[in-house]
Amino acid sequence: MLDIIQLRTGLVGPVDLSLAQGECIAILGPSGSGKSLLLRAVADLDPNSGDVLLNGRSRNDMPAYQWRRLVSLVPAESGWWADRVAEHFKAKPDMSEMLKDVGLPDALGWQVSRLSSGERQRLALVRALQGGPQALLLDEPTAALDEASTLKVEEIMQRQLERGVIIVLVTHDPEQAGRLANKRITLKDGRIIDMPMTAA
């Protein structure tokens, strides 16, 4: 369970949401409506008030870095701190499998500066998954991708949902929301303007 209680950050909120294991909620809304800020607040990356609980345990009961390993945010713009792709990944046996899933089996040997934005986006998702988070906060994860890559990323998300991972998905694409999410909300000026709707 992921419970978001009276969450406020800047002009965003208060937001209350409750998600069960394996659920995906899509957050829609115009640019500037606070979707990304809401995700950052859930990850505790900006000053905020309110509480977020994972399986009944408040994030305030643990150090922020531990929280972010459980509730992993993948921002729309991914960050890279070293020159080579491999330096951003832990050496894990299932890594190559996951890279194959996103269509980038050889990416570990590449240089970050030569990655396209679509490649960055897919690698950032794999990077976030390698810690085994229980909830994923995805900010437009397929914005820079073509149709084939989008489908690959959606497959990965689907598999995570089947494993019980909770996904909060910010997207501009109502069709994508329909394919993946079982709930959707619309944000406008930092507030939810509709009731969480359960998709058919």
Partner: protein
């Protein structure tokens, strides 16, 4: 025997002719530097003449309180200089406080140590020894601290996406900013390391040159210069370390967030 040669004001005017020549070139080549050259020269002349008069009076008064007051004025000015030399500063009083207090603590510690255990004038705070020494240590620490903080703040801002990526992957704030911290420390340490490495080969330090010109035995001048360089190096290092870590602490928070909202905007 003293070979000290007194300079006349005419000598000084003659020495400034080449600087005037530079201004002429600037006008001829349309470089636009003549105004800055003129202002900087005038500032230097007025400041040094004033400081000459002031030091004479302070030395004559030989009062610990007046000495302390002058030292405080030096720290205040140097603190402002650190603040002004950063493109992006911490907002509010912290912007002044972090740099100035690190510099003050490091500079005071090293100067007092040197006065009480190595140079040992009588009394130990004797302004003739304390103020020039403090000034030299403070000046170098100021340069190091301002470079370190400027690099830290500029790089934190530029690398914010990469830093936040690390925070989001579960790194602590110290881990996430470590590459930037290291770069800032290196930048703060570089001038003093370069100065130590080049001194005596590429250039004779100003203080030593001054002593030799005023007739002191070169070996004695070298001993003083070494003492000064050790003190300067030590104080600069401590000041840079203190300022950079204090600034990292202020620009992150206990929930391991990057708090660039505490950084003021760069002026266009």
């Amino acid at each position: 025997m003293s070979s000290y040669i007194t300079l006349s004001y005419f000598d000084l005017v003659a020495a400034s002719l080449f600087l005037v020549l530079n201004a002429v070139f600037s006008i001829l080549l349309n470089l636009g530097l003549q105004r800055q050259l003129l202002i900087a020269s005038l500032r230097m002349i007025v400041q040094l003449l004033m400081v000459g008069l002031l030091l004479k009076a302070v030395f004559a008064a030989a009062s610990p309180w007046i000495t302390l007051a002058v030292a405080i004025a030096m720290v205040t000015f140097a603190g402002r200089e650190i603040w002004a030399r950063q493109e992006r500063k911490i907002a509010g009083i912290w912007g002044y406080g972090v740099g100035a207090s690190s510099m003050m603590i490091a500079g005071t510690l090293v100067t007092v140590m040197a006065l009480t255990t190595q140079i040992e004038p009588s009394p130990w705070w004797s302004p003739q020894f304390a103020l020039p020494l403090f000034g030299m240590i403070l000046g170098n620490t100021m340069t190091g601290v301002s470079l370190g903080l400027d690099t830290l703040h500029t790089t934190l801002y530029r690398e914010r996406t990469a830093i936040e990526a690390r925070l989001l992957l579960g790194h602590s704030r110290w881990e996430a900013v470590m590459p930037v911290t290291r770069r800032a420390l290196r930048s703060g340490f570089t001038p003093i390391i370069n100065a130590m490495a080049a001194t005596g080969v590429v250039s004779l330090p100003g203080m030593m040159t001054g002593q030799i010109l005023s007739g002191i035995d070169p070996q004695e001048a070298v001993k003083y210069q070494l003492l000064i360089m050790f003190l300067i190096g030590g104080a600069t290092g401590l000041g840079v370390l203190g300022a950079v870590f204090a600034s990292v602490w202020r620009l992150t928070d206990e929930r391991h967030r990057l708090r660039l909202d505490r950084l003021s905007l760069a002026k266009g």
